[in-house]
């Protein structure tokens, strides 16, 4: 069993798309998977369940108003279990600021169900707040999706600095499983950025690049994983390949 967070403090790098489709690919391979949405924007929740309303979400678990078992929702279409998010998460930092052990709430809350799964994926918010720290403290390692563009390098710097701050200040070492290249296009400038990432950071870059493919957006609209919506599309094949590379 491993817990892995999909994180990048830069927005729009396909964090949610990567989390949802990797989880669906692992589920298709017969693994028991849980996806936790920790983003107040609830993009992963909406991608999987459209506009369905949930009485209880991860917010209720973290604030002690529900147990983790009460909020787990299975998705037949995607093949995994999910803990949905809601907008209330955006104010949670202030609620929990004075809480003893505030940085390890999520880890303690999900512990009872961890043995039920082969892997748990956490879709993080792009902001650095208490919930992101909780996600990292609950994770063995992280996956960093990046769009190969100029600002991506800054995003990686920020994440590595955050991991170092967690090690120094909280005494917990989070590993980096690797960097996922998303929205890949066959352009010179894109290749230059990938080369720069290779040169600058001692990080594993997964060989399955996720192409910029309309099938991904269509799949979100249909609330299906891309590997079901368009199994022969380049993005579906890339996500299946990436899921194999990512499996611990």
């Amino acid at each position: 069993m491993s817990v892995v967070s999909v994180i990048n403090q830069k927005g729009g790098v396909a964090k949610t798309t990567t989390a949802v489709n990797v989880a669906a690919s692992w589920a298709k391979q017969g693994k028991k998977i849980m996806l936790i949405d920790l983003d107040p924007q609830s993009s992963a929740t909406k991608a999987v369940f459209a506009d369905r309303d949930f009485e209880k979400t991860i917010y209720d678990v973290v604030t002690g108003q529900a147990t983790v078992n009460e909020v787990i929702v299975p998705s037949e279409e995607f093949g995994f279990d999910m803990i949905p998010a809601e907008i209330m998460l955006s104010g949670i930092d202030m609620q929990l600021a004075a809480y003893f052990g505030r940085e390890q709430i999520l880890r303690r809350k999900i512990e009872p169900v961890m043995r039920n799964y082969d892997a748990i994926i956490i879709d993080c918010s792009p902001s650095l707040g208490l919930m992101t720290i909780n996600a990292l403290m609950a994770s063995k390692d992280i996956i960093i999706p990046i769009c190969p563009e100029y600002f991506s390098l800054k995003g990686i710097d920020l994440i590595l600095q955050t991991l170092q701050n967690i090690r120094v200040g909280l005494g917990y070492r989070v590993g980096v499983r690797g960097v996922v290249i998303t929205r890949y296009r066959d352009r010179r400038v894109v290749k230059d950025v990938i080369d720069k990432v290779r040169e600058k950071y001692d990080l594993n870059i997964f060989t399955s690049y996720i192409p910029d493919n309309i099938a991904v957006e269509e799949a979100h609209h249909k609330h299906r994983p891309v590997l079901k919506h368009a199994p022969s599309s380049p993005a579906a094949k890339a996500y299946m390949q990436l899921a194999k590379e990512l499996w611990p």
């Binding site: 809480y99 003893f100 052990g101 505030r102 940085e103 390890q104 650095l128 707040g129 208490l130 720290i133 170092q164 701050n165 967690i166 090690r167 120094v168 200040g169 909280l170 005494g171």
Partner: protein
């Protein structure tokens, strides 16, 4: 460090609680016979000399118990045959779970070391790593350091200046 993010402060510890701190020095290369030490002074002005052990080719580490979030000052020293040949500047920080630094030798001989006091019996920190403070084991005055470090060829060869 004057600023620190409260997100990265362990809420389960109070200021002054005893924690185990891992001290890591990166990008340092030792030659045969050389040893790397850290001289660290805690918030009560108690100083310790600890030998650092290799973690990988260019990283050395040691552990010490310190009081959470209290001020510490420390300096890294490379010695050979009991003589100090390189040292870092005196660094300041707060005691957290890790102190991570890059090796950066300093050639200013005006910065004196704090007086090293015997280890307190009540302090549990890394007894096995503590270097005994006998008369002969004391580091030589820094003026001798300069003499040694002025061997330009050895500096260029070792640090690529």
């Amino acid at each position: 460090m004057t600023k620190h993010n409260p997100l990265f402060v362990d809420s389960t510890k109070f200021h002054g609680d005893l924690i185990c701190t891992q001290i890591e020095l990166r990008n340092v290369l030792l030659y045969d016979g050389e040893s790397l030490l850290i001289m660290i002074t805690n918030h009560k002005d108690i100083s310790r000399r600890l030998q650092m052990k290799p973690l990988d080719d260019r990283t050395y580490e040691t552990k010490i118990h310190l009081n959470h979030q209290t001020q510490v000052t420390y300096r890294f020293v490379i010695e050979k045959d009991g003589e100090r040949i390189f040292q870092s500047a005196n660094l300041k920080g707060r005691a957290q779970y890790a102190l991570i630094e890059d090796w950066n030798p300093c050639f200013d001989d005006s910065a004196a070391d704090p007086e090293i006091q015997p280890q307190s019996a009540s302090e549990p920190s890394g007894k096995d790593l503590a270097v005994p403070l006998t008369g002969t084991a004391q580091p030589k005055p820094v003026s001798r350091v300069r003499e040694t470090s002025m061997n330009v060829r050895s500096i260029i060869e070792k640090w690529g200046f």
